[in-house]
């Protein structure tokens, strides 16, 4: 069945759309690309908006619901707007032993937001995350999928300053 025959969304840049469509056309099973397509669009806009979900659905001939079934399953698909820098604070057991809580507290007070929130300047979002596989560098965090650790409040300040400076 063809799901979204008549829906056309103008939001996706033509270039990205074409390259995605070409990629999809090349594979035997377009559905295997659904996470890639979600990531590609998310990379463009920071998060996966409702329009983007529909866009993904259209590209892969799925229903928006089928895309949502996956989008809401995965940790790294953001269905709500996030800041330019998404900070994932690892809160699993090794980081816990090594004091992630103080890292988290420091970030919260420094940025003036709670976990799950975004700073008003739209720069930072704080999210918890499960063990990121850098237990040898705990306490560790990810910022836009790049790892930082082992952390101290001082190191954190430095990192935040650098990112702020980059805007």
């Amino acid at each position: 069945m063809d799901h979204n025959e008549d829906v056309i969304h103008p939001m996706l840049p033509a270039k990205l759309r074409t390259s995605l469509a070409e990629h999809i056309a090349r594979v035997d099973h377009p559905r295997e690309l659904v996470v890639d397509v979600m990531f590609a669009i998310q990379d463009q806009f920071g998060f996966l908006s409702d329009e983007a979900v529909e866009e993904v659905a259209q590209l892969l001939n799925m229903s928006p619901l089928e895309v949502e079934e996956l989008a809401t399953f995965y940790t790294f698909i953001y269905r709500e707007p996030v800041g330019k820098y998404v900070i994932h604070v690892c809160d699993s057991v090794v980081c816990w032993m090594d004091g992630y809580e103080s890292i988290q507290d420091h970030l919260r007070s420094k940025l003036g937001i709670e976990m799950g929130e975004t700073t008003s300047d739209g720069l930072f979002t704080l999210l918890p995350v499960c063990c990121i596989g850098y237990c040898d560098r705990s306490p560790a965090i990810l910022i836009n999928k790049e790892v930082y650790g082992p952390l101290t409040p001082e190191k954190l300040d430095e990192i935040l300053e650098n990112l702020r400076a980059q805007g």
């Binding site: 996470v35 990531f39 032993m97 237990c135």
Partner: protein, 424 residues
């Protein structure tokens, strides 16, 4: 003096960069591939891996050669090799270290593994946190292809193979075989109980062999150096090969160490991981990731290999050793671990979806001084019942809980008696 052991998987590891194709080849890389393609039938290969006792390093210790053998001779094509680089087991980071050290070792392992199953499509399933590793692999796959190790008719043989990197959206359950296959097909990554087994009907209904990064990386070395050499790497009688141990927690030098299979836990902690910090005493460790049981002091000298661990009712798991000292509250640690599992449960079956939050609630109350006597049998009972969940996630999830009560019931009772956490 720290004993030095042969470095096999990490032989080309350097502190600051990744081994290039040339470096890998200089160390003997891709010779095994050439050898296999020329001199082995796919059945020979299966036999070698079985004889070498190469056991899966992803946690379940399934013999790698046997897995290849379960692909029926007349099974349909295309067949798939999936490399499990999801590595979401808390405490585990060996696959990351391996890929960053010497990516071609994995690539070569996959190609040979593909030969053993007559599979021509390889997929590396990798967690999104390992974006840098994913990029490395994509780059090196291209290089391998340009060098003729991948693509059509590899090295003039009739074996062909393509490898692609598949990024996960990020969830622990995606590491489970059948959930991973669903994820790869763009479905919700719920596990799916066999039959059919993936080697019979896996990806897109086709035979699929799924193996861990470390498992695959072992393959070229077994071919190159022989079964005896491989078995002799281990210090235990029944064991074979080396093992990548990830040590973290209360040690001075956390990290990933390649050591003989069967090396003693005490040696790993004291010698290789730099011992415990001053003032810290060993209380327990999780020997193989978050889904193994606490290993109390009485097993401090245990040989870290599948069999010796199994004999005392424990699991080697992924070999990710997380060390807890006498100042660390294990109720709180277990609460943290349960929080992880409750958050990551896929939600398919009742015991895991609802039972884990229940256990978490009880642990939280214990930790906050609201514990009651009756919580203890409830925790025991639920830990037992969670073994009747749909997949292996929940049994793993309850391992810390059950072993907490088995070995540290006193500590739990203290929380109840003192109406607070005695460690705070």
């Amino acid at each position: 003096m720290a004993p030095t052991y042969p470095q096999v998987l990490l032989q080309n590891r350097k502190p600051d960069r990744i081994a290039t194709l040339e470096e890998y080849q200089q160390s003997g890389g891709y010779q095994a591939l050439a050898d296999v393609l020329q001199n082995y039938s796919y059945k020979d290969l299966q036999e070698v891996l079985i004889d070498a006792v190469l056991l899966g390093r992803g946690g379940a210790a399934f013999p790698a050669g046997m897995k290849l053998r379960t692909v029926a001779e007349d099974a349909p094509f295309p067949r798939y090799i999936v490399c499990n680089a999801d590595e979401m087991e808390p405490g585990t980071f060996k696959d990351r270290v391996l890929i960053h050290a010497d990516p071609h070792m994995l690539i070569e392992g996959m190609i040979i593994d593909g030969y053993g199953a007559k599979a021509e499509q390889g997929i590396i399933f990798i967690r999104p946190e390992y974006e840098s590793a994913a990029r490395i692999l994509e780059r090196e796959i291209k290089i391998a292809k340009e060098a003729g190790f991948l693509g059509k008719n590899i090295l003039g043989s009739d074996h062909s193979m393509e490898i692609v990197v598949h990024r996960s959206g990020g969830r622990y359950i995606c590491g489970e075989v059948t959930a991973q296959l669903n994820a790869l097909m763009g479905k919700r990554p719920n596990p799916q109980q066999p039959p059919p087994y993936p080697t019979e009907k896996g990806l897109w209904g086709m035979p699929t062999v799924l193996q861990n990064v470390e498992t695959l990386a072992n393959i070229p070395h077994i071919i190159r150096n022989g079964i005896e050499w491989y078995k002799n790497l281990a210090v235990t009688e029944t064991g074979a090969g080396t093992k990548l141990f990830c040590v973290s927690g209360k040690v001075n030098k956390p990290g990933c160490f390649e050591l003989p299979m069967g090396v003693r836990l005490s040696e790993i902690i004291e010698v290789h991981a730099g011992g415990m910090p001053v003032g810290s005493e060993y209380k327990a460790c999780l020997p193989g990731g978050a889904s193994t049981r606490y290993l109390p002091k009485e097993f401090y000298d245990i040989e870290m290999d599948f069999d010796p661990m199994r004999e005392v009712g424990h699991r080697l798991g992924t070999g990710a050793i997380m060390v807890f000292d006498q100042k660390t509250c294990l109720v709180a640690a277990t609460l943290n671990l349960t929080e992880f599992f409750a958050r990551e449960s896929c939600g398919w079956c009742t015991p895991c979806r609802e039972g884990l939050p229940y256990i978490r609630d009880l642990l939280l109350r214990l930790e906050e001084g609201e514990g009651r006597e009756e919580f203890i049998p409830m925790l025991q009972q639920m830990s037992k019942h969670l073994w009747s969940s749909y997949c292996a996630f929940a049994p793993g999830a309850t391992s810390p809980v059950e072993s907490l009560i088995t070995y540290f019931e006193d500590e739990v009772r203290e929380h109840i008696a003192q109406k607070r956490c005695p460690f705070k």
